[in-house]
Amino acid sequence: MTTNAAWIQVDPQRMQAFRDEAIARLTRAAGEVVLDFSSVKRIDTNGVRALEELAGLADEKSINLVLRAVNMDVYRVLKLLKLAQRFTILT
């Protein structure tokens, strides 16, 4: 993980705002974007949709999307949905 990567705190209470901010950052960023999941205890359908969208955008822009501090429950969901492979995941 590079030190100058864009860093976004994921707030599960404000999923829409997070999504919008993440898309904006991804659009501007290059190299790597880090999504900090330390506040996320559980992910829901909106969260999954947002991650799918962000993964697609990151692919387009060749940006490495890093999910940091993902708890085991959320990680398991990402594995079951085959989403985990689309990110660099730091637990």
């Binding site: 359908t45 999954v48 429950d73 959320v74 398991r76 969901v77 079951l80």
Partner: protein
């Protein structure tokens, strides 16, 4: 010919893929939910379903035109209230059951996405039931309802879905295929994201589910026989049958189809049916029914009759019945193709059969059961428990309903304590994977967390052991009405028997049986049993070496338990507690066995083993059971003072082998170690003295004790590969057991001290410790060495020096066995050694080629043996048993 279903278009596939995507996401998200989460959601769903029970019943009636509104409402209530009552307190998330005493925990894992087929006969109730089961177990479901019931099902799913999602369930947890078709079902059944198919419906749907190659719960058709036996409470039985058969117009597949009635009560039963609103058909009416409601081509019920009222069916087929008739009762004379009404009829037409006897009644019930109802449900009304038992044994049915209605009884939770369900597993008889009432446990992957357990161990020894010079005098404390001394002619000649006689309380009738000084044969043992019987002995004194004592052990066994089959008792086993063959229990008033050893090696006076030769069959068998252990052991060195030198050496090394092998055994324990270590110390200290100075009383006494103490160890920890090699080699070349052990022992120490090619499984040892235990022995003997390897090497050298001092040949070659002969014997030697049970407690699992290698090392001789594999340089301080 059936028309092949049209393939699915792209649009339809995209639609189905959307359902799968939603369900898959919901199932994944569901894995994060806690027990509290799902219990909250399930309660909300149950309440929502209950509130809409009548509404959904009406929708089902309107769409399917089957059944009875009130009954469908009751089914919806059962599917919510009763099912909720069943699941509410049951854990279904994470750890759901714990068995601390067994170290086992069961953890529930959701299955994922389920594709569920629901029937036309019980459409909304089945949906309500399956929704509750799915959420309770954190699964998502795509429903594929019967095409004639999909709209009412969709509404039931909507109600449950909204209740669930509003209480926090993941979006997409339930979806319903709109306007479902067979190709839709086929597509979803084969979809890789669908983890389980739950098919409740007709045989076609069930077969398709099982043919998909996916895990499936397929439950299907029945043909419920009812035996109305003469001891039954008739009023209750008739009401129950009418209640059940007319419930929802007979659409529940567990409902009664043919009632077989005992002759004695037949007329009374028919009268009661008529009295309570049934129309009893005459022969002409029965024939009419048979050819109208049953399709003569297929031999199955016609759809037009399914779920219809009795009066409507009568009207359609031109049968005149009273208004309000509940049920059409049709007497039949047999079961099978000539008797169309003997098959399943999901409408209020009930066949009845008059049986002349219980046997005939049971036979006809079996015939009905086999006419399309295998594995499903059978009903009996009887107060005769024996007949209920007989009926239960001969019926192939997942549910045997006793003295209650079949349909509502099979649903569970109303008339009995079975699990409430709307899916009846029919077992393999019905082509299903379960006979259960399908329930929440079928919607879970159960994970078993198995913790390492410690096998229970023991230290079992004879009650009394008397030792030191003149210990034989303790015989005075054992009164007897009749005593038999078993010995051999030599000992009798030497005067040992007289010594024993003098210690037996005066006045005790004593007989002597001298048997050959060789491993006992069956005929010798049986002669001993005859002698015991002849004199009605209550005490055996075995005076001799291992052979005599072994013979006495088996004589006692056969004397007390003549039925004991020695060959069967010799069956090999892995774990004495789990062995197939059980020995007769020790008898409280059984004969007392006192063993007095006259050699210092086998320790047979305290062991639970006995060897027997069966000359007729040319084989040797080993009996092993703690019931064989003598009651009293006397370890009196006066009987070994005159033991010849060679015998002193060989038996002494046998004793050392017992102790060393028990010490490194995978069954070793602190209890056996204390004995093994002490025996080893005594052997190294006193065996050379006893050998070189046979009259040294202390040396003889200590070696006699050592043999007994080593036997206490190996009686409980067993021996090892050295014994397996020695048994094979000794038998083949006629070499005594102790000497055969001596030739193998140093090589076995080196072998066991090196890293095993294969480890022996043992829950009681957490590490491979044989090398460290040999090093402990070296420390005990003061052999020196800084590392484990050095200590093991020193032990091997000390053992070799001991053998040299005892003038034991250094090799098999030195014993005059030609190399070619040994080589020829090798395949047999290796096979016999590998088959020998002795090595099963060895710390290394010997491979056959390793046994061959050990034999060759013994052939070439000792002197160069070193602990090649003992590479751990750390000083040994302790090891772990647990």
């Amino acid at each position: 010919m059936k028309e092949k279903p049209a393939p699915l278009g792209d649009e339809r596939i995209a639609y189905l893929e959307g359902l799968v995507r939603q369900g898959k996401t919901a199932a994944a998200l569901f894995t994060q939910f806690t027990q509290q989460d799902v219990d909250r959601i399930v309660k909300a769903m149950a309440l929502a379903g209950l509130a809409q029970a009548q509404y959904l019943a009406r929708l089902a009636i309107e769409e399917t035109k089957l059944g009875v509104l009130e009954d469908k409402a009751i089914k919806n209530m059962v599917a919510t209230e009763f099912v909720y009552d069943y699941v509410r307190d049951k854990p279904s998330v994470g750890v759901i059951r714990e068995f601390p005493e067994r170290g086992l925990v069961e953890v529930a894992e959701p299955i994922g996405l389920i594709f569920s087929i629901t029937p036309v006969t019980n459409p909304t109730s089945t949906v309500l039931f399956k929704c509750i089961m799915a959420v309770k177990t954190r699964n998502a479901v795509i429903f594929g309802p019967h095409p004639n019931a999909w709209q009412c099902c969709r509404e039931a799913i909507r109600i449950m879905y909204e209740a669930a999602v509003n209480s926090g369930a993941p979006e997409g947890v339930f979806t319903c295929v709109e306007s479902p078709t067979i190709p839709d079902n086929v597509y979803l059944m084969h979809h890789k994201e669908v983890r389980l198919i739950d098919a409740t419906g007709g045989p076609g749907a069930v077969k398709a589910a099982y043919s998909s190659g996916k895990p499936a719960l397929g439950v299907g058709a029945g043909n419920t026989p009812v035996y109305l036996e003469k001891t039954a409470q008739l009023d209750m039985a008739v009401v129950d049958i009418i209640t059940s058969k007319t419930f929802d117009n007979g659409t529940i597949c567990a409902s009664e189809q043919t009632v077989v009635i005992d002759d004695e009560i037949y007329d009374a039963v028919i009268g009661k049916f008529a009295e309570l609103g049934a129309h009893i058909c005459d022969a002409r009416e029965t024939e009419l029914l048979g050819r109208t409601v049953i399709d003569p081509e297929t031999g199955t019920m016609r759809p037009m009759a399914v779920g219809q009222k009795a009066t409507d069916i009568a009207r359609v087929i031109g049968l005149r019945v009273e208004p309000g008739t509940k049920l059409l009762v049709a007497p039949i004379l047999g079961v099978g193709p000539g008797h169309p009404l003997s098959v399943e009829k999901l409408f209020p037409v009930l066949a009845v059969y008059r049986a002349k006897s219980t046997e005939e009644a049971l036979r006809v019930c079996i015939d009905v059961n086999h006419a399309g109802g295998l594995g499903h449900t059978a009903v009996i009304f009887s107060r005769n428990d024996e007949i209920v038992r007989q009926f239960s044994e001969v019926m192939d049915a997942g549910r045997i309903i006793v003295n209650s209605p079949g349909s509502i009884g099979a649903l569970g939770g109303v008339y009995n304590d079975m699990v409430p369900t709307f899916s009846f597993g029919c077992g393999t008889g019905g082509g299903n994977s379960t006979t259960d009432n399908v329930n929440l446990y079928h919607y879970l992957n159960l994970k078993r967390v198995a913790r390492r357990t410690q096998a229970h161990m023991w230290f079992r020894v004879p009650n009394q052991i008397y030792f030191n010079m003149n210990a034989v005098e303790n015989l005075r404390q054992f009164p007897s009405r009749s005593t038999l001394i078993v010995t051999n002619p030599m000992l009798e000649q030497m005067g040992h028997v007289d010594v024993v006689r003098r210690s037996i309380p005066a006045g005790t009738p004593v007989r002597v049986l001298a048997i050959p000084d060789a491993e006992p044969e069956v005929k010798v043992v049986m002669h001993g049993v005859e002698t015991l019987n002849l004199h009605q002995a209550d005490q055996i004194i075995a005076l001799g070496g291992g052979s005599v004592i072994d013979a006495a052990k088996i004589m006692k066994l056969k004397y007390e338990s003549p039925e004991a089959d020695l060959e069967e008792l010799a069956t090999p086993f892995l774990d004495i507690r789990k062995r197939v063959v059980r020995y007769p229990a020790r008898k409280a008033d059984g004969v007392r066995l006192i063993a007095i050893s006259t050699t210092s090696g086998t320790g047979s006076e305290v062991t639970p083993f006995a060897v027997l030769i069966d000359k007729d069959r040319g084989r040797k068998v080993t009996l092993a059971d703690y019931s064989l252990s003598p009651d009293v052991a006397i370890v009196d060195p006066q009987f070994v003072m005159s033991m010849p030198k060679a015998l002193t050496a060989d038996t002494g090394i046998d004793c050392l082998t017992h102790a060393l092998e028990a010490g490194v055994s995978i069954h070793a324990s602190p209890y056996t170690d204390s004995n093994a270590m002490q025996a080893i110390r005594l052997v190294f200290q006193y065996l050379p003295l006893a050998y070189e100075q046979p009259c040294d009383e202390e040396a003889r006494s200590m070696m006699h004790n050592a043999a007994c103490i080593a036997a206490l160890a190996f009686s409980n920890a067993s021996v090892g590969v050295c014994h397996a090699l020695a048994h094979a080699f000794g038998a083949r070349f006629g070499i005594g057991h102790g000497r055969a052990n001596a030739l193998m022992l140093p090589h076995v120490i080196s072998y066991n001290a090196s890293v095993p090619t294969k480890f022996m499984p043992s829950p009681n040892q957490r590490a491979y410790v044989a090398h460290k235990k040999y090093a402990m022995v070296a420390d005990l003997l003061g052999l020196g060495g800084d590392t484990v390897a050095q200590k093991v090497s020193n032990l091997v050298i000390a053992t070799e020096e001991l053998l040299d001092r005892l003038q034991i040949p250094r090799s098999i070659a030195e014993m005059g066995i030609p190399e070619e002969e040994f080589e020829r014997a090798m395949p047999d030697l290796a096979k016999i050694a590998f088959d020998d049970p002795s090595w099963r407690s060895n710390p290394r699992m010997p491979l056959v080629n390793e046994l061959v290698d050990l034999f060759w090392k013994a052939y070439r001789g000792r002197g160069g043996a070193r602990a090649a594999g003992a590479s751990d340089g750390a000083a040994v301080k302790e090891w772990s048993y647990v």
